[in-house]
Amino acid sequence: MDQPSASRINDFALKVATVNGTGSASANGLLLQALFRMGIPVSGKNVFPSNIQGLPTWYEIRVNKDGYTARSPEFQLIVAMNPESYARDIEEVVSGGWVIYDSSKELDDEFRRDDVTFIGLPLAQMCVEHFQGARARILMKNIMYVGALAALLEIDMDIVKGMLEEKFSHKKHLMDANYQAIDLGYNYVQEHYEHPLPIRLEKMDANRDKVMIHGNAAAALGCVYAGATVGAWYPITPSTSLMDGFTEYCKRFRVDPDTGKHNFCIIQAEDELAAAGMVIGASWMGARAFTPTSGPGISLMSEFIGLAYYAEVPSVFFDVQRTGPSTGMPTRTQQGDIMLCAYASHGDTKHIVLFPGDPRECFEFAVAAFDLTERFQTPVFVVSDLDIGMNDWVIPKLEWDDSYRPDRGKVLSAEQIEELERFYRYLDVDGDHIAARTLPGVHPKGSYFTRGSGHDKYGRYTEDSDAYMEVMDRLLEKVESAADHVPAPEVHRGEEASSIGIVSIGGCHWAVLEARDDLATRGIQVDYLRVRGFPFNQTVDDFLAEHDKVFVIEQNRDEQLRKLLLMETACSKETLYSVTYSGGQPLSKGHVLDGLAPYLEEALMGVGS
């Protein structure tokens, strides 16, 4: 890594270390938003404990003029607000970097380092002098370090103050306090330290058509736009904010203006099993219904998932992955449920799975999930993760095509049923493996019996081998035929053909892109494909076939994507190499390069660690 003492404009990462439950989240949000408004590519990652209050928590911000906003594990600057974690935090700043700390209490010598610059700010002391009440003092301390950073990094103060104005326009006294705190921090730096630092910001224009959002909110909005009316859930980190978002947007967009009644029904279920059952019940009735959960929830829903698969009931499951197995690390990210979602439940099953790579795709794939689940009458999983779901992402503005109409698949209208001689639920009339369905209450001739037990193509109970297999074979073909309908992979190729490829998935994308560019600057050209849906479509097969060596990069221990490719494409085993990272942090360029290093040794000399 370069020494940060060299001037790095719009190209560094900083980390704020605080204690959770002390209001630092809003200060950090303010900070991030200010950088965003300065037009600089930026990302914010929240590293929080599985606890409510009083433990160390971190917020990582990376600014990068070239748009690389994957996690950076190296920090040029640390705002060390939590004495409990001083040791670790101060150690983490790169040599030549800066440490900002609260100098109200003198820093223990043990924390001192010769190779970094310490910037002490008497925050607690200034709070006591300027603010009344314990709560205000804690909160204002946070705002103060934002002010100090503004001076040190050259954050545009007009933007910061503008934001405070927006936020507190109705609470004058709060606005005043915040103004004062910002200024106190800003002025203290002005008076006591050389500034700006060599790492600093400069306005750009990179965010013109961008917004800042987290994936769960975007997914929730996708559900609203897709016309989902029933959401059933049981709270679980990191999926909870998805239903919070759905609730919020429904309250905004879906309350009948005349009656105040809800054009939606959100049920907080007693557990994940019940949530899955509610989704199945509602979808069977014809509603678009979904449940957001995380790994433990998918485990618990397994039996119901098999029912939906076999009885062909649409159902949408959002799995916002966290670090497993078991309870694991609920506030850390991972891609550990890939295989589970592809094959959840006992017996022969296979499911449609979508893998968004950022909040924009969370929005788009949420909509796609409802279309796919209704078209193919089978469970659809949207598998994101804590990083995508809960962190702050800058993405191109979401767009909506008003001509969109839900793909309800083969749902027969009363008129269509009326015309039928007789309706058979599981008969593949069109030869596309998809049988038409009817909705309860629509027409007496449309009634049928839904069951998870053996049935023939007419929908009758059966224990006959051939009748059973006929339906099961169709199901396999049906789900496999979805390969052409799930989001196609995103493919990046160089100008010249390369024999080396990378395949990756989900939020790995950004680190992979960055690493790939890095390799390119060193003369190593690798092609890259990001899987976005399962069953894999032909492009994936082709890509694998076209490359001699394909590195599969993913965030789990067990090479789950690699295994899935092995099982479900024609690729030969010898082609696939695995690069995994499963430690729970979002992937960074370094993980990718380190993982590739042993394979690309000669070519990569000097790269990686």
Binding site: V211, T229, L307, E418
Partner: protein
């Protein structure tokens, strides 16, 4: 719009309901249960109740879990929609279905294994949520379909066919439903159709979760001497606490009871349930008193039956959630999708 096509000529003496349908039209496929199984009698009672309520078959939704009892939805109203789901989880399917389409008539059939063991949590929460449905628990004290293990409703001392006595206390679903605030709680006996049918009818019309525990003997595994869920034991020990008469909205009220022992409760849709108390101290609208009374009867080794508790008020799940009156499945895309300009507007907050 009604799609009921008038049935083809049938036995001319066969009764017809307001839709012109006969009880035959409310039958299902042939039962595959054991000859004499109590569950088949419950099915017959359901057929009669649904027929008498003039239900359009395709507007009825039948749900169940897994078990002999849970098989029965195929045996009635073949033109209704049915869902034989997984063991113990029918209540959540019902809640989701009802959330999506509140205009249909829901009946769930379950067993004591299905509702009181694996499904106990869902059962309790369906009560709490007050899902608008009739919930029939066909209670035989055993797991029929898996061949005769004691269920959680088996009484202390009740013996298995092999003579082993159950030692754990039973979960009494009526007691449980009352404790959890259920607004319609009844118990009946598969062998007493006269009592069961009006209760089922009232349950269908109740606005909320209507719970009916039906003692429904398992002739194959739990109808021997020593079983407290046998035909003989139930007949001998059942104590009808209250006689129920269901009077649909449009009918004249014919029955009349002596002052003081009768009580008429008007249902949500205007129909009337008339309750004649066998014991005039009994008040089927006083939850605490009902619990006491039932407790007393139980200590005598007797089984209280009848529409034991009724509270025709309160909100169902849609009330709690303040859902629109139109079934959600009928809302058009235009109502549901906020459109591109709203999206643009919203995103102004995201910068």
């Amino acid at each position: 719009m009604s799609y009921i096509t008038k049935p083809v000529a049938r036995h001319p003496k066969m009764p017809r309901n307001a839709l012109g349908l006969t009880p035959r039209d409310y039958e299902g496929t042939m039962s595959t249960l054991c000859a004499g199984c109590g569950h088949d009698s419950v099915t017959a009672a359901l057929i009669q109740a649904i027929f008498e309520l003039d239900v359009e078959p395709h507007r009825l939704v039948k749900l169940s879990g897994i078990g002999c009892s849970s098989k029965t939805p195929t045996y009635f109203v073949r033109d209704a929609h049915g869902f034989n789901s997984v063991h113990g989880r029918m209540p959540s399917i019902a809640a989701g279905a009802n959330a999506a389409n509140r205009d249909l008539l829901y009946v769930g059939i379950s067993g004591d294994g299905d509702s009181l063991s694996i499904g106990l949590g869902q059962f309790c929460h369906a009560i709490r949520r007050n899902v608008n449905m009739l919930y029939v628990l066909e209670n035989n004290g055993v797991y029929g379909l898996t061949k005769g293990q004691f269920s959680a409703s088996a009484d202390i001392g009740s013996t298995s066919k092999a003579g082993v006595a159950n030692r754990q206390g039973p979960i009494d679903p009526v007691n449980l439903a009352l404790s959890l605030g259920a607004t319609f709680v009844a118990r009946s006996f598969s062998g007493d159709k006269a009592q069961l049918v009006p209760i089922l009818k009232a349950g269908f019309r109740h606005n909320g979760f209507a719970f009916v525990d039906v003692i429904s003997p398992c002739v194959t595994f739990n109808d021997h001497k020593g079983s407290t869920k046998s035909y003989a034991h139930t007949r001998e020990h059942m104590h009808e606490v209250i006689e129920t008469d269901f009077v649909p909205l449009r009918a004249e009220i014919k029955t009349s009871y002596a002052e003081g022992t009768a009580r008429a409760v008007t249902m949500h849709d205007g129909s009337v349930v008339k309750l004649r108390k066998v014991d005039d101290t009994y008040d089927p609208t006083d939850r605490g008193a009902v619990l006491d009374y039932l407790g007393e009867v139980a200590t005598r080794g007797e089984i209280s039956t009848g529409l034991l508790y009724l509270e025709e008020s309160g909100e169902d799940m849609h009330g709690f959630e303040n859902t629109v009156d139109t079934p959600l499945v009928e809302l058009p895309h235009e109502t549901l999708c906020p459109g591109s300009s709203a999206l643009a507007e919203l995103q102004k907050e995201w910068v």
